[in-house]
Amino acid sequence: MDRRKVDIVVMTMLIIASVIVLTNDNLSQGGAQTEMSSLFLPRLVAGFIICFSLFIGAGSLFKLLNKAALSSTESISLSGFWGVNIYVALFIGYWYLVPIVGFLLVTPFVMFAVACLLGGRRWVAITAMSIIVPILVFYGSNHFLRVFLPTWSLS
């Protein structure tokens, strides 16, 4: 994928967001009234974002219009993204299920799934790791760090 096209889209979005920060007074609520307002600093930063985005975006647009050859850093390889989508979905599921089912029950399945995703086929070793590591982390957090990871909340 041509990163210069992505650059143009992302930089346009950043410029639009920065213009909203510059023009919308409702982004800050309450607080003490000052001469410069609470949005002074965000607006200053938004101004810089517009400048840098314009610089990067214009550079990419110029190269695209001139049909300049792609350098190695300007192309994005899309291979392997299926695995990334699965991993992100797994992580979202992990986040959703842990408060309901508990850390100790969900984590082994997630670890096992990630190991399989990475091509692991040594089932016994992976299963052992998926069971032992969550137990160690759970009890280590509980006893040494006083961090209480979520437990089963269904009753």
């Binding site: 920060v21 982004l27 607080g31 974002i49 994005i76 992100v88 990630v114 990475l118």
Partner: protein
């Protein structure tokens, strides 16, 4: 100052800090030696664990991870020609050439002794230079401070990445995200969109892990079909090929000293980092060597120069961070965050407000070198075995540690959501050439 140094050593010689240093060195070498895991990643994962311990233990542990991680990178560089960091690129050239000649033990030994010497010398410079510089910088008024701040952002923005404009954009985006929540000056809520969870802003640790650690995991998942190289340490029948003799070390000491000086100087200049130091020192060693033709083909001088210079940066990159609040490189920027989390604000006042703590950390920094030498020297075989672990054993554990680390911050599942969001943001930033380390700073 000498009283402070002695008090620092008195504070560090306790069970807690020493165990912290040992744990840090072990974790650092292991993480550094595993190809695909960087020092930043190791520090980010360990950081949440340090919340619950004394700053002296926590910070020295993180610094031990940093130092040992840089050294650990040279193990995979020498044995399988896969530098863990850009700074180990030159070590990989000469070290792997020596490995192919059956002299892996010698290469690892030279790398270790040069690293430790370089680090120790830079740490001594840090201890004696930092306090006087901070005394000078204390005289800065508000105008000087504003310009210093602008200088810091400019330096940070140009730290790494493809271009200065992308670095500065990353810096601005980081500042924008940092402004979400209640303003500390006016008390106004900014960019919260009536979501109460955003009133406190984005929690730092989940953001940090999401932006710096998780994209590495995603990279590994994307490249999961590539075969993984085996790391193994083969011993030569000739004993001299497996170690470095005192005579050899003495012969290399001039190169190590000069390269450490270069590394210390380059590290103290904000924004250059360990790769620049290694390349300059390597070039200088080659220029003055009696056997320049051996460089790149298994030169022990080359390894000594590159390793002592890139490790010297560890200590000296702390000088601008501790005296002017300007981190010397991306890892120093991360460590600056760790200092802040532990209630230590880097800057000239740190030497007056936390004298005992800061000198204890310095003492710990020096002690780390000793532990690194002993632990690494006695465990080459063990570390190569651990570094050879298959990725399907390592990265499920990293996923769980990242989850736990994010949750640990406030014992809140919202922080895990922040982790997921910033994992995506961090990876997207990498794809379009923005610098995640600068964003986090």
């Amino acid at each position: 100052m000498f009283d402070n140094i002695i008090n620092g050593f008195a504070a560090i010689f306790a069970v807690g800090p020493i165990l912290g240093i040992i744990a840090g060195v072990l974790v650092g070498i292991i993480f550094g030696a595993i190809p695909g895991i960087s020092g930043i990643m190791a520090i980010s994962i360990i950081l949440p664990l340090t919340f619950y311990v004394d700053p002296i233990i926590g910070i020295t542990m993180l610094l031990a991870v940093y130092k040992a991680g840089i050294y650990g990178g040279s193990i995979s560089a020498i044995l399988i020609n896969t530098p863990g960091a850009a700074a180990s690129f030159l070590t990989a050239q000469d070290g792997n050439a020596l490995t192919k000649m059956g002299k892996a033990g010698k290469a690892l030994d030279i790398s270790l002794f040069s690293s430790v010497t370089g680090e120790a010398l830079a740490t001594i410079v840090l201890i004696f230079i930092a306090a006087p510089i901070s005394a000078i910088s204390l005289q800065a008024g508000p105008i000087e401070k504003v310009f210093l701040l602008l200088f810091a952002f400019t330096v940070i923005g140009s730290l790494a990445g493809e271009s200065i404009s992308r670095g500065l954009l990353s810096c601005c985006l980081g500042m924008m995200f940092a402004m979400v929540g209640l303003s500390s000056i006016t008390g106004a809520s900014r960019f919260t969109f009536d979501i109460p969870e955003l009133m406190a802003g984005f929690t730092f640790i989940p953001m940090l892990i999401g932006v710096l650690v998780m994209p590495e995991v995603i990279n590994v998942i994307r490249n999961r079909h590539q075969s993984q190289q085996e790391i193994s340490l083969t011993k030569s029948a000739n004993r001299d090929d497996n170690r470095i003799s005192w005579k050899e070390y003495k012969g290399l000491f001039g190169t190590i000293l000069k390269s450490s000086g270069i590394g210390t100087f380059v590290g103290a200049l904000p924004g250059l980092g360990s790769s620049t130091a290694a390349f300059i020192a390597y070039g200088e060693a080659k220029r003055t060597s009696k056997t320049p033709e051996k460089f790149g083909k298994g030169s022990v001088e080359g390894i000594a120069a590159a390793e002592s210079a890139n490790n010297a940066v560890c200590g000296s990159s702390m000088i601008p961070m501790l005296t002017l609040s300007i981190p010397g490189d991306d890892v120093a920027a991360l460590l600056m965050g760790a200092f802040l989390i532990h209630g230590l604000t880097p800057g000239p006042m740190i030497f007056f407000e936390h004298t005992e703590t800061i000198y204890a950390i310095f003492a710990g920094f020096l002690l780390t070198d000793l532990f690194l030498l002993v632990i690494a020297r006695s465990g080459f075989r063990f570390f190569t075995k651990v570094a050879s672990l298959k990725r399907y054993f390592i990265f499920p554990c990293v996923t769980v540690f990242a989850f736990t680390g994010a949750f640990t911050t406030a014992q809140n599942m919202d922080d895990v959501l922040i982790l997921i969001v910033f994992t995506i943001v961090g990876y997207a930033m990498r794809l379009i050439g923005l610098n995640p380390a600068v964003f986090i700073f």
